[in-house]
């Protein structure tokens, strides 16, 4: 029973004997499998035999590490000034997208749906688009409405472009009001594809057929395209570098304000973001830097073909060398030198690497996450002397696979690494039992592998290091930085301290292992 001194929530309340008792008495009504049988099957799920069966799956996904296209489309829309993200389709999906981001960013997320229901599934969703756009323009004081789609609209084949055109023709929405759109079918690709599609939709809307007076280099700026990016620090660090270099730039899709508004007593639905004028002017930039090279194909094609930009061939600026390469390319494109302040920052990262290398060298770590993120992370791991083992990318693509293979072959630390394109976290669970890494790096979704491996015994536990998206069970990590040298510092600090934390866990037993429970490490 509770006491006023210490009110107990779920844990530890349900560890009290009276509740443990309840679990036992309830068992009598459950006709569960005997405990021995359950233990036996659990053990079997940790074997190589189970793993082989597990890897034979063709139809079933268990514990996915990817989401669907419109989620990415919606994040993209958020990055433009006073833009309302409007999702054409079922409202349930939209409730899920908002919730997913609420939980990760701990911020309000404003997306609207046009709530297609059974009649719309039969007759098409044009009425929803008309009424929805009319209400949305009236209610939300937006400068732009960015439209993407859920499955229902895609499966019935709604002609979104025509619907929006008709909405303008018939006066539901002002004919000059910007309503860029993208088709984001969830049965193709993943959330990163959706970002690419929505981005292309937006830049196309404002620049396609409006190229007469445009020419690369005319405005002296460079464009930066982030891709599906959830670390707020990553937007900020790139901007800081540009400012320190004296480079004039346009961030094409910039949600770092709207995803981080201060508590003032007022709720602001919009904040910051790329302006329409900036998008219109973007073709005049010297060139465009795509920060995620393997997942922005469609946008890249459009920018190359329509804006005539020669897009630099770069990898995601994570770790030392790829950040070096990024900065040098920016310098080359703009004629601005990399300033001493950035060189100093680089030096500080290298200094940290020298300080911590002894704890990281030779450590074996499994990784999962989105394609470019995983690629950049693995690159930096190799620079740190960490040996990546199982590399799982549920939403991988051919370009990614090729690039990853090459990178791993080129490094002596890549020899233990194996790529698992298209695999999910139930595959990774098997791998963590049969070939135990020291750690897993990935999103919160990986925490169940840690729990399951621990259940086999403390010596089998694979601790999770949280880097990636989504992070639901730790606070405020989305504010951190993983790009640039600054990002290197954060990743290095996180990894090193995870290793030390684990060592303390193992050596804190008084009189048993604490000979190695050192004050200084």
């Amino acid at each position: 029973m509770q006491t006023t001194e210490k009110v107990k929530p779920c844990f530890p309340l349900f560890n009290e004997p009276e509740y443990q008792n309840i679990f036992e008495t309830k068992r009598a009504y459950e006709e569960r499998h005997p405990k021995e049988k359950v233990a036996e099957v659990f053990e079997w799920t940790t074997t190589k035999e189970y793993q082989d069966l597990n890897f034979k799956r063709e139809a079933l996904t268990v514990n996915a590490a990817k989401a669907c296209q419109p989620l990415g489309g919606a994040l993209c829309g958020l990055g433009f000034e006073k833009t309302m993200v409007y999702i054409h389709g079922s409202q349930g999906c939209v409730a899920y997208f908002r919730t997913y981001f609420n939980r990760h960013f701990k911020e309000p997320i404003a997306f609207i749906a046009d709530s297609m229901t059974e009649d719309a599934a039969v007759f098409g969703g044009q009425k929803n688009v008309h009424e929805g756009l009319q209400n949305a323009t009236k209610l939300y004081d937006a400068k732009m409405i960015a439209v993407c789609t859920t499955c229902i609209a895609e499966v019935i084949g709604d002609d979104l472009g025509a619907f929006i055109g008709n909405a303008k023709k018939e006066g539901y929405v002002d004919k000059d009001f910007p309503v860029p759109y993208a088709n984001t079918p969830s049965f193709v690709g993943s959330h990163v594809t959706g970002w690419d599609n929505m981005f292309e939709g937006i830049v196309k809307y404002f620049t396609n057929g409006k190229m007469e007076d445009k020419a690369p280099g005319k405005n002296g700026k460079i464009n930066i395209v982030p891709g599906f990016e959830t670390y707020l620090g990553n937007y900020r660090v790139i901007k800081r570098y540009m400012n320190e270099m004296g480079v004039d730039y346009t961030y094409l899709c910039d949600p770092d304000e709207v995803l981080d508004t201060p508590a003032t007593g007022e709720y602001e639905m919009y904040a910051g973001g790329t302006t329409i004028e900036e998008v219109q002017d973007a073709p005049n930039a010297i060139t465009t830097f795509m920060l995620q090279s393997t997942t922005l194909e469609k946008s890249k094609k459009f920018i190359e073909n329509t804006w005539n930009h020669e897009i630099p061939k770069l990898n995601i600026p994570m770790g030392v060398e790829w950040t070096d390469a990024f900065l040098m390319k920016v310098s080359e494109a703009t004629g601005k030198e990399v300033p001493a302040s950035i060189t100093k920052e680089r030096g500080r990262l290298i200094d940290m690497m020298t300080d911590s290398h002894q704890w990281l060298h030779g450590k074996k770590m499994a990784v999962f996450g989105d394609p470019d993120f995983v690629m950049g992370l693995v690159k930096f791991m190799l620079e740190l002397g960490i040996e990546p083992t199982h590399i799982v990318c549920n939403n991988s693509n051919k370009r990614w696979e090729k690039a990853m293979k090459k990178m791993l072959e080129d490094s002596p630390y890549g020899i233990h690494a194996k790529l698992y394109p298209g695999c999910d976290l139930w595959h990774l669970r098997s791998l963590c039992f049969t070939d135990k890494p020291d750690f897993i790096i990935g999103s919160s979704l990986g925490k169940f592998i840690q729990r399951d491996t621990l259940y086999k015994g403390p010596e089998f536990e694979v601790p999770l290091i949280r880097l990636g998206f989504p992070i639901f069970d730790r606070h405020h990590l989305h504010r951190m930085t993983t790009l640039g040298y600054e990002g290197g510092m954060y990743i290095l600090t996180t990894l090193t301290n995870a290793v030390l934390e684990q060592l303390d866990q193992e050596t804190k037993l008084l009189g048993k292992t604490d000979y190695n429970f050192d004050l200084i490490r």
């Binding site: 029973m1 509770q2 006023t4 009110v7 107990k8 929530p9 349900f14 009276e18 679990f23 309830k26 009504y29 459950e30 006709e31 359950v38 099957v41 659990f42 799920t45 034979k56 139809a59 079933l60 996904t61 268990v62 514990n63 996915a64 990817k66 419109p70 989620l71 409007y86 409202q91 349930g92 999906c93 409730a95 997208f97 609420n102 701990k106 911020e107 309000p108 997320i109 749906a113 709530s115 229901t117 599934a121 009424e131 929805g132 009319q134 209400n135 009236k138 859920t150 499955c151 499966v155 079918p185 969830s186 049965f187 508590a263 003032t264 007022e266 709720y267 139930w426 169940f448 259940y455």
Partner: protein, 490 residues
């Protein structure tokens, strides 16, 4: 500012409606009302369970959410397969906090996500073959599951798949129950139809399994319906029922198992907590098996005691005495909790916007702490829910159905409650506004809130949120002058 009077409350609704275009305004007006306790039938003054207006930021989810998330997800030994593209299954993972006791991935599956991850070819050529193969794979890798349920996502219903046929065929092959659930998100107008569809699926595919084979049971057998064990709610309820001498044969669906469903037809009384999501099956069992059912409310000591007595009234003196014994046992602890927290919460005003039950069901718990609910609304209630709500709410309070983000913010701005209880989508906007907020779907990662033990947590949580120092620090010292100036103008 205190409570609004009737005219002020009505004026507020009018003011809020002003921003809408004509058609939307007409529609939304029907969903907002000022409470009038003389009304016995809510349908005279509020419309519910209607399509949401396109483009106005409804907070509702879909039938799939009501089926997968609410009804099916919490059954621990039934593997819930999200059938269709990857998104729905991924987003519905882990959000609801329906606790279970078991070995996850081996004999319990609540926190494992199963999806058929539809690709373009599945949409084009149909997904039945994939589903059949998937069921074999599930069976191979998770042999200790007791049953499977297939939740269809939007595309399934549009491409003409026959998941019923596949389920039947596969059930025969693997020797387990496989339940097809037609809960495509475009059906109905909210989560609510998903509840209904799921109730019907249980009725058709599971409930009669032991018809004619069940033993008599004991005279004290009951089932809990509509408790999803959020943060352990059902456990904190079960303990009381058992202490008073009842046998809880089944929990629907929090921490529940398939045999508990199959054994339910032998109970003597069905206890219904969430009326909205499970009244259908309670009515069905009443009709088919003659099992009476009653609604009860385990939020806060007043309602708990009332409910325990009413439950006991269906049984003999042993149970009646049992109820009194339980009430007496916990009374001192409840008194102590109230003595501790009531002085800190007395007179505080609360506005609620939740699913289909809690806005009315938690009123008593707030009142036990001296707090007052001045506004209440539901995402997906029907008029029978509003009938019940009107009785619980004070006169001239606000009642809102399928409220939009904008309406909620405006109501809160004007009514200035001390606490808002709603969901994650609403939470952070109110944080920015400086309004103390608790998530009332997930208990904000706390709980349980049901039962006596749960009330202690409820009281603790409301206090920590209403009285945390963070709410007083919104203005920097150099901004204070502005604040004072503003106040003068006002």
């Amino acid at each position: 500012m205190g409570l609004l009077n009737r005219e002020e409350a009505e004026a507020l609704i009018q003011e809020v409606l002003e921003v809408y275009p004509e058609k939307a305004k007409k529609d939304r007006a029907k969903h907002l009302m000022v409470n009038d306790k003389t009304i016995t039938q809510s349908k005279k003054c509020i419309t519910s369970n209607r399509k949401s207006v396109p483009g106005v930021m409804t907070q509702r989810g879909c039938a799939y959410a009501g089926a997968r998330g609410v009804v099916w997800g919490p059954f621990k030994d039934i593997i819930a397969i999200s059938h269709g593209p990857i998104g729905c299954g991924q987003y519905s993972r882990g959000g609801r906090r329906n606790y279970f006791a078991g070995i996850s991935g081996v004999d319990s599956f609540c926190d494992v996500m199963f999806s058929s991850d539809f690709q373009e070819k599945d949409v084009v050529f149909g997904g039945d073959k994939k589903l059949a193969k998937l069921i074999d794979e599930v069976e191979g890798l998770f042999p200790l599951s007791k049953a499977l349920s297939v939740q269809s996502e939007c595309p399934i219903g549009l491409i003409g798949d026959d998941i019923e046929a596949v389920s039947k065929k596969k059930a025969a092959e693997i020797g387990k129950t496989v339940v097809p659930v037609r809960c495509e998100g475009f059906r109905g107008v909210s989560q609510s139809l998903g509840h209904h569809i799921s109730n019907d699926a249980i009725r058709d595919w599971i409930l009669p399994a032991r018809d004619g084979k069940l033993d008599e049971g004991t005279p004290y057998d009951v089932a809990i319906l509509g408790d999803y064990n959020i943060g352990g709610d059902a456990w904190a309820s079960r303990i009381l029922l058992e202490e008073m001498g009842l046998n809880v044969v089944a929990q629907w669906s929090g921490d529940g198992t398939i045999v508990e469903i199959e054994n339910t037809p032998k109970v003597k009384l069905n206890l219904l907590h969430c009326y909205r999501s499970m009244n259908y099956i309670a009515r069905h069992m009443e009709e088919k098996y003659n099992i009476p059912w009653m609604e009860y409310n385990f939020f806060g000591p007043s309602k708990i005691a009332e409910s325990l007595r009413e439950i006991a009234s269906h049984f003999d003196d042993t149970i009646k005495e049992g109820a009194e014994r339980v009430i007496a046992k916990y009374q001192p602890m409840m008194d102590a909790i109230i003595a501790k927290y009531k002085p800190r919460l007395e007179g505080k005003k609360v506005m609620l916007y939740v699913g289909g039950l809690r806005p009315r069901h938690t009123i008593g718990a707030y009142e036990d702490l001296g707090m007052e609910v001045v506004g209440a609304g539901y995402e997906f209630a029907h008029n029978d829910d509003y009938d019940r709500t009107i009785k619980e709410m004070k006169d001239a309070t606000l009642i809102y159905d399928d409220a939009t983000g904008y309406e909620l913010e405006e109501f809160v701005r004007q009514v200035k409650p001390d606490l808002v209880g709603s969901g994650i989508k609403e939470k952070y906007a109110f944080h920015k506004m400086g309004v103390p907020f608790r998530q009332m779907h997930s208990w904000d990662y706390s709980g349980p809130y049901h039962g006596y033990d749960g009330f202690a947590v409820f009281a603790r949580d409301m206090d920590m949120t209403v009285n945390n120092p963070c709410w007083s620090m919104f203005k920097a010292p150099w901004q204070q002058e502005e604040v004072e100036a503003e106040q003068k103008v006002a």
